[in-house]
């Protein structure tokens, strides 16, 4: 009839309910561990609320509007009117559905949900400050903790997100209207995705990038396809320039000032400026040092291949644990953290983590590039298939780009792929599977692919790498 003295204790405490944290919590609960998940803001983290999902919703919607308006070649004449308010509402509906789903899943799996901001008191206790007046705080003792506090957009000097006309990616995903002129500072994947959205919605978009090209980590021929298409959409690029500040312009708008390394200055008129220069880990405020955890000079928590920090019973997963800062990487790490705590032999032993950029056209990559493979000591075989040789690509009207597959020339093992083109984000999955299973070019090539589909291009690229492609000339 009676229980006393419930010390609020838990076997596994997870801080942050993004794709790293909530996945870890669910898996831990599935393993029979008493699990508590603390979230200060919204279930689903950056990914569901202000990242992957809302951005993909707007990319699809703006793409649809743009495509409908530019299909004269197919005999379609339309001038779609875009109601941005409605579009944002629809996006929000998608987000709400997913975040509600995350909360339900957590509950159904027996995860204890606590709302509030967690900070370490010592290496076995956190204090959770509940939001709102007089809601107070509570202490939770834990046996194991998983830090999954994620990341936030980096601010640069001169551009405070507190200013109405300075957008973070989050603000750009909740805009009330399409600005006439948008300057995007940063040509990384977030900048490029959002530049494309607003260009398609009718804004005049200028991208300012410090480096000499967009999408730094990708190979030149991959970047080129995306940049050229962006230019066709009317996006203007200024490379080698860093944004230094802004001033009011006479017309009620603003001027964004930039500077090259040699001190050459330029200004670009703008109604809004989107700053997308990267993301930094959320570690301040969590009092990691009280648990004995140090961060590296960029603020990331260093972890081993079982996601353990220097303090072994405290794990870190997701963006806060460093590159790659991607949702699916966060989730994989979350699973490994939970299973490691449950005593299972889990580890981050994947051969490759795929990555996708949802520009027009998309980029999907996994594993090694040709150069990577050579550096790793492989004799490299490379095969390509341009989408302009794909029947299905032609029927969609999108023929920019190619599939490139990289393999070990001796045994044929697939090592990586770079895909730029329609549905590249989906196509890359097949190559990811091939890499993980240790499949060979022959395995991929001899697997019958449906016709007519874009995925045939993967098969063709594998044939090409063996010098026997049917639909392209072999090199």
């Amino acid at each position: 009839m009676v229980v006393g003295d419930i010390s609020t204790g838990t076997e596994v405490l997870v801080i942050g309910a993004g794709p790293g944290g909530y996945v870890a919590a669910i898996r831990a609960a599935q393993k029979g561990l008493d699990t508590t998940l603390v979230e200060k803001d919204a279930y689903g983290g950056a990914c569901l609320n202000r990242g992957c999902i809302p951005s993909k919703a707007l990319i699809t919607a703006s793409g649809l509007a743009h495509e409908a308006g530019t299909a004269e070649e197919m005999g379609i004449h339309a001038d779609p009117a875009v109601d941005l308010t409605r579009m944002i509402e629809w996006k929000q509906g998608v987000v709400d559905r997913l975040t509600g789903g995350v909360e339900k899943l957590c509950k159904a799996n027996g995860v204890n949900l606590v709302e509030g901001t967690a900070s370490f008191v010592d290496d076995h206790t956190v204090r959770v400050a509940h939001g709102g007046d007089g809601r107070g705080s509570e202490s939770i003792e834990f046996e194991h903790a998983i830090v999954a506090t994620g990341s936030r957009p980096v601010e640069i000097p001169g551009f405070s997100f507190a200013e109405d006309h300075v957008w973070s990616s989050e603000a750009a995903l909740a805009a009330e209207s399409v600005p006439d002129r948008l300057v995007v500072v940063g040509g990384g994947y977030i900048g490029m995705e959002l530049a494309t959205v607003y260009a398609k919605l009718g804004a005049e978009v200028t991208v300012v990038e410090m480096l000499e090209d967009v999408l730094d980590p990708y190979e030149d021929d991959v970047k080129r396809v995306v940049r050229k298409r962006a230019e066709d959409l009317g996006i203007e690029f200024h490379f080698g320039e860093g944004a230094s500040g802004w001033s009011e312009a006479g017309d009620g708008g603003h001027l964004v000032h930039t500077e090259t390394e040699d001190g050459e200055k330029s200004s670009y008129p703008a109604d809004r400026v989107l700053v997308a220069v990267g993301r930094e880990p959320v570690t301040g405020g969590v009092d990691l040092e009280k648990a004995g955890i140090e961060t590296d000079d960029r603020g990331f928590i260093e972890t081993d291949d079982r996601t353990r920090s220097a303090v072994e019973h405290v794990h870190a997963v997701g963006d806060v644990a460093g590159e790659p800062m991607l949702a699916h990487a966060a989730s994989k790490e979350g699973i490994v953290a939970a299973e490691t705590i449950a005593g299972e032999p889990a580890a981050l032993d994947q051969q490759a983590i795929p990555a996708a950029v949802f520009t027009d056209p998309e980029i999907g990559t996994v594993g090694m590039t040709g150069a990577d493979a050579e550096e790793a000591g492989f004799d490299v075989a490379v095969g390509e298939m341009p989408f302009r040789a794909s029947g299905r690509a032609l029927t969609t009207g999108h023929t920019d780009g190619f599939v490139r597959i990289v393999a070990d020339a001796d045994e044929g093992f697939v090592l990586g792929a770079q895909i730029v083109g329609p549905e590249a984000s989906e196509l890359i999955a097949e190559v990811g599977l091939a890499i993980e299973l240790g499949a060979t070019l022959e395995d991929v090539a001899a697997t019958v692919h449906t016709h007519p589909t874009l995925s045939e291009a993967v098969m063709e690229a594998a044939e090409n790498a063996q010098g026997q492609a049917i639909h392209t000339l072999n090199r």
């Binding site: 009839m1 009676v2 229980v3 010390s7 291949d305 032999p345 580890a347 790793a376 045994e411 093992f413």
Partner: protein
């Protein structure tokens, strides 16, 4: 091969000895450097003692429960040369092998490494994720496994064989010299993945039976799953994949890989007769099922020299392999409709109940207080309390009455500390009040009941109960009780057998205050009216409060409990006495 002794290391400042609480390994187990081998409790903490060698456990010198001085020999290991070498480079992140069941690692095996990039020319071993995980589980370094697939791709079977080979020979050269192991068996299936689990019970059984009896017999299937590369290999070797024996299934269909194709070809070429096989008993599939970890194939079974005995053993292994899956599938089918997680607050409650009920022998004493006067007193005070914004229930009166009882019988306000051989009489009166919440039962504590007035107690109880319901109590507010009250009567009922809020000594349960028949002496006037033939008693309806007092009989006896209850009842029946409290 050397024997190394391992002594209890200095586990912490100033600790001179420790009690060996439990061994985490047994003789014959393979351990890795840094793997915990024992739990040792010092007066400061319970610590796991890590091994400083890679090797096989030779002997344990200390029994569980022994107190060991620092520096005494605990355990000895058989350490091989390569193992010693690698101990230096040994990866600290190697998963401790569950070596007891495996006896892993050939002599030249590297220590476990979970690094994805073992030592091959191009720095990579090709193996699917399930195989990589198995390797970690068995403590096998993938880079050291010779893959039997095309181009050296490593399969689950390769990993199991590698793990097994460590046991089979002392000399690491064995493996390198011997021809690549090509077991003839068609059993000892190497895949226990979710994929093969999916096959229905019947299919799995059928496959097992067929294979168990088949030995190297050509299978004769209508359909076989195989990758394109395997099919090509089969064609090149002139083999029909439908003939290749296998116990592996995917999606319920027989599955054949390159390795099986090769093994089959070799078997056939070696002229192994199908008659070699001794048919295992059919129910091997069932009896074998108790073994959860399939025995790895014996690598010494080389096709040309295999004997009937080894073949059939392997076939049995196959049965053992498949059966657990079969059982699991059956279990799943029988699963009941809904399951509720036993975790969090529910489990905490459960554990506390268990601890209390199984530690303290409970005795529950029942009695009933006639509370006419209490009802009247409370009715008079209620409006006054309301003026001060306080909702006055009976609980504060009961708390005061209990206080009176505890002052007279302090033994009920106590805690038994068995290990110290003492009963601590508390000099504070902190009462827990049980509150039913959505999450389960919570017991916030009202402190210093002796120092607070009725209204103060009422206000505090109301506040604590509300905050228990919205879960905003602080842990401190749930701690430190010396006696507990549970007012189940608020929901209904008369008597219960409350469980003590351990380590307290007593708990008082309150039934509902209701009019119930009570026997009372007739008043003088009635006597006149009824005359002398009546006995002088009558049954009248009167408000009563049923009490259920549970005590820890180790600490206190029933007589004291009854006397305590009497005192409490006296105070409830004549609330003026409460003025004294």
């Amino acid at each position: 091969m050397t024997i190394e002794e391992f002594r209890l290391p200095d586990v912490g400042e100033g600790v001179a000895e420790g009690e060996l609480v439990s061994w985490l390994v047994a003789p014959g187990d393979r351990v890795e450097e840094d793997q915990p081998v024992a739990e040792v409790e010092t007066d400061k903490a319970l610590v796991e003692v890590p091994s400083s060698y890679d090797g096989i456990v030779e002997e344990l010198f200390v029994e569980e429960g022994d107190v060991v001085p620092v520096g005494d020999v605990l355990i000895s290991f058989r350490v091989d040369e390569a193992g010693e070498e690698s101990a230096d480079t040994g990866s600290a992140d190697g998963e401790p092998t569950d070596a007891g069941s495996v006896g892993a690692g050939s002599a030249d095996a590297e220590p476990t490494s979970v690094e994805a990039e073992p030592d091959t020319s191009s720095g990579r071993t090709f193996a699917p994720p399930s195989v990589r995980r198995l390797a970690r589980e068995l403590g096998v370094d993938l880079g050291a496994v010779e893959g039997s697939g095309s181009g050296g791709r490593v399969s689950e079977r390769d990993v199991r064989e590698h793990a097994d080979s460590g046991d089979s020979g002392d000399s690491g050269a064995d493996e390198a010299d011997a021809p690549a192991p090509k077991p003839v068996d068609v059993g000892s299936g190497d895949r226990k993945s979710a994929v093969s689990k999916r096959g229905s019970v019947e299919e799995t059984d059928a496959t097992t039976m067929a294979e168990s009896g088949a030995g190297p017999d050509p299978a004769d299937r209508e359909r076989t799953l195989a990758t394109p590369a395997t099919r090509k290999l089969a064609r090149e070797l002139g083999v029909d994949v439908d003939e290749v024996p296998t116990d592996e299934t995917r999606e319920g269909e027989a599955f054949v890989d390159e390795e099986r194709v090769r093994a089959y070809v070799e078997t056939v070429e070696a002229g192994t007769s199908p008659e070699l096989d001794a048919s295992p008993e059919p129910d091997a599939t069932v009896t074998g099922g108790v073994e959860s970890e399939p025995a790895p194939a014996d690598p010494s079974v080389d096709a040309p020299t295999s004997t009937a005995a080894t073949v059939s053993t392997d076939a049995d292994d196959a049965a053992a392999d498949v059966a657990p899956d079969t059982v699991a599938a059956g279990d799943e089918a029988d699963a009941p409709g809904e399951t509720i997680p036993y975790r969090g607050v529910r489990r905490t409650i459960g554990q506390r109940m268990e601890e209390s009920k199984f530690t303290a022998p409970h005795v529950t004493h029942h009695d009933t207080a006639e509370v006419d006067a209490l009802v009247a007193a409370r009715d008079r005070l209620k409006p006054k309390a309301a003026e001060e914004g306080v909702s006055l229930t009976y609980l504060p009166f009961v708390m005061k009455a209990v206080l009176a009882g505890l002052r007279e019988y302090p033994i009920l306000n106590s805690e038994l500390r068995e290990e110290n051989e003492e009963i601590v009489l508390k000099d504070e009166y902190h009462f827990g009040v049980a509150v039913a919440t959505d999450a389960g039962l919570m017991v916030p504590v009202v402190e210093d009941v002796d120092e607070k007035g009725l209204f103060e107690l009422a206000a505090e109880v109301t506040d604590l109960a509300a905050r228990a319901r919205d879960r905003s109590l602080t842990p401190a507010e749930l701690r430190g009780g010396t006696f507990t009250l549970t007012n189940f009567g608020a929901i209904g009922g008369e008597y219960a057998t409350p469980i003590i809020n351990y380590p307290e000594t007593a708990i008082l349960g309150l039934g509902a205050i209701e009019r119930r028949p009570v026997v009372r002496e007739r008043s003088a006037i009635d006597d006149e009216f009824f005359g002398d033939d009546e006995e002088g008693y009558e049954v009248v309806p009167a408000p009563t409060l049923p009490l259920s007092l549970s005590i820890d009989h180790r600490v206190v006896d029933g007589a004291v409990a009854a006397r305590f209850a009497n005192t409490v009842m006296d105070h409830l029946e004549d609330p003026l006495l409460l003025l004294n409290e």
